[in-house]
């Protein structure tokens, strides 16, 4: 007689919370989508170390928690004062505030913006039968994982942002994503859909910050469409709590002559997974996916990018840099796919990592899959420590060792920072790098 040990399935917990989310949902169409996602979630499995895309990231700890959906918990009150402290205020911006995955209209400041572009929550957009939302929402499915289903089935208050044709927004749009302090261990699913229409131009700064309190799990999804000749800059700054879990997926589809520039700065989180997928679905597209991640203690930061060159004559650039201290663990997996038709593609990918301590660890997996012959594709990856000879050169000029090291770190980060269009943000990030590494900033 064998006794079957009842194994706890972490999916069930999330499915249960999805059920209550779906139940509360008023809109039939959205409810349909969420119910489908819930079923997909139920039939899916969380990736393990044996899943090729997740082979360096162990989810065991994350899945051992019974997270509750923060939307079902008591609402966290954040004062305007706190918002002022949490947001990036060094530059002028339109402000959109999310607290635990839900858009907070009262805390946001975008009156000027709403004259230029269309902003509403996704459920409101469905309610008003918005054609664009119906057409585009949750339609990008490059490689759906259980985390996508988890997000889609559990999200409550995401935003739909439509930048109409020919609209150029001068000021950056700041999305402030505040998570935490829900009262118990909780998870939040925030989900945004951004459509940058023809000839539009806009810059987003998304900032993730954590409130003190219990451990939380942030599961974020952003879908972006950049239409013909549109330009969209997206700067993502992640400063979550040290004991939090941050999973973020950004999916982009670009139309012809468009430009998309994504910069990902990761500082916070105990276990972080960033997925950025771009599909270059027409000709003459420019796509940049750059990133800088700074880790200390036992942080685990996993960056995964995928660029799908589906049509000819486009260019993509990737530069991911990591600085790993203490016993942190970094992962970079970048994949470039060049389809058979995508002749005259230029695709460049570079990944550099510096290990500052003996216990730090990095796994890199750059991949090229190329089916067209008239292309220029390269990737490079380096892992090392601060350059000894460069260090020696500075030391020999009478500069103390620690300062010399800081100078080299600043120089290492500079190549990602230098392209940022907002100077104040550049300074802010540069400052954060040294703060995070516990070093004096060199000025």
């Amino acid at each position: 007689m064998s006794v079957e040990v009842q194994k706890r399935n972490p999916i069930e917990n999330f499915v249960a919370s999805a059920e209550s989310v779906c139940e509360l949902n008023q809109n039939i169409k959205l409810k349909e989508i969420q119910l489908l996602a819930k079923n997909n979630l139920l039939n899916s499995q969380f990736p393990t170390l044996k899943t090729e895309e997740w082979k360096y990231t162990n989810l065991k700890k994350l899945l051992s928690y019974d997270f509750a959906n923060s939307s079902s918990m008591e609402k966290v009150v954040v004062s305007n004062n706190e918002i002022d402290k949490l947001k990036s205020s060094s530059f002028d911006s339109h402000l959109l505030v999310f607290v635990n995955g839900i858009f907070e209209k009262e805390l946001s400041d975008y009156s000027e913006l709403s004259n230029q572009i269309f902003i509403s929550t996704i459920s409101e957009a469905f309610e008003s039968d918005n054609e664009l939302v119906k057409k585009y929402f949750s339609k990008i499915s490059m490689e759906n994982t259980s985390f996508d289903f988890l997000n889609l089935s559990n999200f409550v208050g995401g935003l739909f942002i439509h930048i109409p044709k020919n609209v150029v927004i001068e000021k950056p749009i700041q999305i402030l994503n505040i998570t935490g302090n829900a009262g118990d261990i909780s998870f939040s699913s925030s989900r945004n859909l951004i459509i940058a229409d023809e000839n539009s131009e806009s810059t987003f700064v998304q900032k993730h910050v954590g409130l003190k309190g219990e451990i939380y799990f942030n599961n974020i999804s952003t879908e972006i469409y950049v239409e013909k000749n549109g330009i969209l800059n997206f700067y993502n700054l992640q400063l979550d709590n040290d004991d939090s879990y941050h999973f973020e997926k950004t999916d982009v589809i670009q139309n012809r002559d468009s430009q998309f520039h994504h910069y990902n700065f990761t500082f916070g989180g105990k276990l972080v997974r960033n997925d950025i997928n771009a599909k270059l679905d027409a000709e003459n597209i420019e796509c940049t996916l750059n990133g800088l991640y700074i880790a200390n203690d036992n942080q685990h930061i996993d960056n995964s990018t995928f660029i799908d060159h589906a049509k000819p004559h486009s260019t993509s650039n990737q530069l991911y840099k990591g600085i790993l201290d203490d016993s942190s663990h970094g992962v970079f997996a970048g994949k470039i796919l060049v389809a058979r038709d995508a002749q005259l593609t230029n695709a460049y990918q570079n990944s550099n990592t510096i290990l500052l301590s003996k216990e730090a660890k990095v796994d890199t997996k750059p991949q090229l899959e190329i089916y067209a012959d008239d292309v220029k594709c390269t990737h490079g990856a380096t892992v090392g420590q601060l350059d000894e000879s460069a260090l020696f050169y500075i030391l020999s000029r009478g500069i103390p060792r620690e300062k010399a090291k800081s100078m080299l770190i600043a120089a290492f980060a500079e190549s990602v920072l230098s392209d940022l269009k907002i100077d104040a943000l550049k300074n802010e990030i540069s400052h954060l790098i040294f703060e995070h590494l516990n070093r004096d900033e060199i000025l």
Binding site: E52, Y56, R340, Q343, T353, L355, L356, S357, K358, A360, K361, V362, D363, T364, K365, P366, Q367, L368, E369, I370, Y371, A372, D373, D374, V375, K376, C377, T378, H379, G380, A381, T382, V383, G384, Q385
Partner: protein, 491 residues
Amino acid sequence: MEVASGKSEKSLSDEKLINEFTDSEYKWGFVTDIESDDFAKGLSEDVVRKISAIKKEPEWMTEYRVKAYKHWLTLKEPKWPNVKYPEIDFQDIRYYSAPKKQPQLESLDEVDPELLRTFEKLGIPIEEQKKFANVAVDAVFDSVSVKTTFQATLKEKGIIFSPLSEALKEHPELVKEYFGSVVPYTDNFYASLNAAVFSEGSFVYIPKGVRCPMELSTYFRINAMDTGQFERTLVIADEGAYVSYLEGCTAPMRDNNQLHAAVVELVAKKDAEIKYSTVQNWYPGDKDGKGGIYNFVTKRGVCDGDNSKISWTQVETGSAITWKYPSTILKGDNSVGEFYSVAVTNNFQQADTGTKMIHLGKNTKSTIVSKGISAGRSNNSYRGLVKIGKNADGARNYSQCDSMLMSDKCGAHTFPYLEIDNNNSTVEHEATTSKVSEDQIFYLNQRGISTEDAVNLIVNGFCKEVFKQLPMEFAVEATKLLALSLEGSVG
């Protein structure tokens, strides 16, 4: 307008060239008509024991085979490589075949003349080498060694270079010590299968401080119909020894896919160096992708002692599917691992090949240079792992994988894995993908060089870094092979 029309004319002539060359038939395909002493198809414990009995192996080897077979039964065929092929029916393979006449001969005169003609057609220069070259040849025909030369010279130095079955009889203690020590029977599906049913192989032992005076070489051949060939090579270089080992092969034309699952193990002791070169030109299948050899090989070397070195060089132009990763475990401090590879795929060939460099010792160094060329409708993947262990202070790796695409229907892929556990090490990886550019061809045309020669020149230049690692005789053969497989295919 003129420019445009000129270009299309040019690409037309290019297409003609491509067709000419991709249509070129496998020149070395033929079947030798020798009666074979074959087993019936199928695999069971009985078959494993029977192979062992035929080879008059000691008890422990029989048990080893059986253990491996039992382990193999528990394994599933791996599916992760980037290759596609119909399911292999392992019961539809004949696991042992030997030429009926098994000559124990001293001179070539006693060899079956049919066999000699085969070698001649293949261009294996046994006689020529005996006379001119400084090479000892151990030609393996199907599963049993036929001819071993230069034994005397090697014996003088104390070098053992013999078929594995012979080594088992004469040096059982050496074989027992090292056999399966680098690639255990539990390693993977095909290594397990090989350990159970391996038919023959080569054994090399270089004693302490001895520099092997000649390049050791084996020619593998697959001949009898439907016979999987399971070779086993074991090379041991004791302290301070040096050996250069060459392996090369061609196979007759066939319609049935033939499985080849060999295992190669290298052990380099303190201060020892092993250079292992391969030229592989098995039957790749016809231009519609029919037939061809499946080449699923496990090759691994261990730099066991300090300051040891293992260098792999491979030129892969044949086989319908090539799937292998010659690896080096850098265990000793200051040990060095090298991997130089040219992999060419044409028509419907598929290759998933690369290397693994496992750095465990301090100040270990590894270099990876991989050149992939794809033409026709083929797919060519580089897959490699560089792992720097926690204690591998001062480890250094440099990898470069370049791919060249020759048609718009082929694919080139790179899957490098870098796993770094030590901050005192430096790892660099670079990969590029490109095609033979029209500018380069135009430049050479302008100087009176035909397009065909120009492409040959460019491709040879692309591969030069690897070819220069090959011993002289092989470099010549490799250049020929490359020209045969690709010459003129401008995409």
